[in-house]
Assembly symmetry: C2
Homo-oligomer: 217 residues x 2
């Protein structure tokens, strides 16, 4: 869920930023500088984001492993305290010690289940999928490349920067709408509303950037 | 945790991207275009990311509310099935029905605790903090602005684009190192390792972008 939100933001931001950059480079006679700059940006961004995502996922997996080892140590060295902690989880749901004791004792007889229970219910940690680091890196890098190539493609196909900007704005707004629509369907929050929101974010951000650029240049 | 990782990526990517853009605009005689373009990018990015983060957090809160209402409906309309679901949560931790029954029955006598339990342990959802949407939006926008202003500041202070680029690279690498160090201390993954990783991501991304730009221009 968080990853998906983040990817939407990349897309919207990337699209907006490229339009703004293109708008500002109106002085440039041909599209060469925009295309080279855009491709370099996409390369840098996808590598930084992909590597960052990979290391973050690896870090989460290491953190999970460390916490699990600590829990195994604790149920061996201080079992009474750990049993009391399980009891407190249930008491936070309004149960009396008498009501929770059978479960606490049942858990204390099964070390693996006990540690799994503590990881999830005391620490709130989910076991990370070992393949998640690579998948996450590939997804983020892919989203970054797609989000960057959409607004850049008219400049690659056309040789005029002015025409490029107009086509880029249209293609970008359409892509934001389609992406928002699909995201709304997938997450079940209403496709039309999601499409409008995504286009509005892109529009507001681009308008603010243009206004700022006009104001100071 | 995920937000924090994301903010690191913004920083690294933003820093890298601005260096690359500056390097490519070597033909530009003064720093005016770089500064205006950079500020416009920061405005667009912080608005798109901040608004996107706000709407994502609001969406999470709505989703939580909908699921909670559904759980209240279900424990009223099909209480036996919901009790069986609670039982299955415990059975997945190796408990026998006899061991989990007292807890299941204790929960079934307290509807609020029962729904809270299902939200957390069956659906794996945490109750979102109502102020999180605004905090999250402000944090993301602030991180984006900080991450953008650091590499841009030498161009604002100096009038030569060539000197600007050299200072920008130094300031950026230093900022990545400091940011990685603080992040490593805060998350407990080792400050030195985190500092090196963050600088390496920035360096690899910038090098790849430069190589690509050289190759095609």
């Amino acid at each position: 869920m968080p990853h998906e939100h983040v990817e939407t933001h990349f897309m919207a931001t990337n699209l907006v930023r490229d339009i703004v950059a293109a708008g500002l480079s109106g002085a440039v006679q041909n599209t060469r500088l925009i295309v080279v700059g855009g491709l370099a940006e996409i390369a840098a961004g996808s590598i930084a984001m992909g590597l960052g995502g990979y290391l973050a996922a690896r870090g989460d997996a290491e953190h999970y492993e460390q916490e699990r080892e600590r829990e195994y140590r604790e149920i061996k060295e201080i079992p009474e305290e750990e049993m009391a902690e399980v009891g407190r989880v249930f008491q936070s749901y309004g149960m009396t010690p008498a009501e929770s004791t059978p479960v606490v004792e049942a858990l204390s007889r099964r070390p693996d289940a006990w540690v799994d229970f503590m990881m999830r219910f005391e620490l709130g940690l989910e076991e990370p999928d070992p393949r998640r680091a690579l998948t996450s890196a590939a997804t983020i890098a892919g989203a970054y490349i797609a989000g960057g190539m959409i607004p850049l493609s008219p400049y690659i196909l056309l040789s005029s920067a002015v025409h490029g900007l107009a086509y880029s704005a249209v293609v970008t707004l359409a892509a934001l709408g389609i992406f928002g629509y699909l995201k709304g369907r997938y997450t079940g929050t209403g496709p039309a509303r999601s499409a409008i929101q995504t286009m509005a974010i892109g529009g507001v951000a681009a308008a603010a950037a243009f206004a700022l650029a006009k104001l100071i240049s």
